[in-house]
């Protein structure tokens, strides 16, 4: 059975990767409940993704190449991202959070499409120079952008 890593585990792994090594540091960085962090850490230890030295947790230095490829597995990433988008759109549609996950179905002529592409390129350029290491993991923003034609989207459904 392949390794399956949840968004919650990835969140904590990313925090450890930012040199938050004790439970309190992880808690401060992620703003999660200590009991939950402990439960996730135990699971990561069992999966040999992290090691514990006294009261410190570090990424496992010798993660097998199999595990790395499983962590980078595109299928799992697609499902993880789908879940993230789903949760945010649901919150946004039900007005449960002050996020701004929106989408629009709209016809754009070729000039308007060029404008949209330029705007998206600007967003991408703006984001590319920002690194995630600067601040706490809990303060990171999840940003999605992009567009696709309606036909292409429907074709993907059909091909599934």
């Amino acid at each position: 059975m392949s390794l399956c890593i949840t968004t919650l585990e990835r969140y904590i792994l990313e925090s450890i990767n930012k040199k938050n090594n004790t439970i309190l540091e992880i808690q401060n960085d992620t703003q999660l409940d200590i009991i939950l962090i402990n439960s996730v850490l135990n699971n990561l230890l069992i999966d040999k993704l992290i090691v514990q030295m006294k009261n410190k947790y570090c990424l496992h230095e010798n993660i097998t190449s199999n595990k790395i490829s499983e962590l980078k597995n595109k299928d799992t990433a697609i499902i993880e991202l789908t879940e993230i988008v789903k949760v945010n759109i649901k919150q946004s549609l039900l007005n449960q959070a002050d996020n701004s996950f929106n989408y629009k179905k709209v016809f754009l002529n070729s000039d308007e499409l060029k404008i949209l592409k330029t705007l998206m390129f600007s967003i991408e350029s703006f984001l590319n120079v920002r690194t995630k290491k600067n601040g706490p993991t809990s303060q990171e923003q999840i940003i999605f952008w992009g567009s696709n034609s309606y036909l292409n989207t429907v074709s993907n459904f059909i091909n599934n």
Partner: protein, 101 residues
Amino acid sequence: MSIQLSLINRYKRFFPQDTFKIISKKTKIQQTRVFRIFNGAEMKISELEALEEVMSASDNIKIQEFINLSKKCTSNLSERVLNDLYTQMRLLLKTKYLVTN
């Protein structure tokens, strides 16, 4: 009383649309009695069992529907889609396990 309260809360989550009239019909408890129970009056064991039974019957229908749908998916959907569903279910289950343990 705390068992009663948690049962009533569970029922409300299960059937948020149910009126006292519908609850009475489902559980065969008198409507005025249902009103009193849902407003804090102490339940008899038989009333508690009646509410439990309604929820468990509904549970079984949902589970059976889920199993039937899963079987249909297994025989009709592509391996790729089934893999996605499988991984999605594993991740949901694992998250649930991490949160509750």
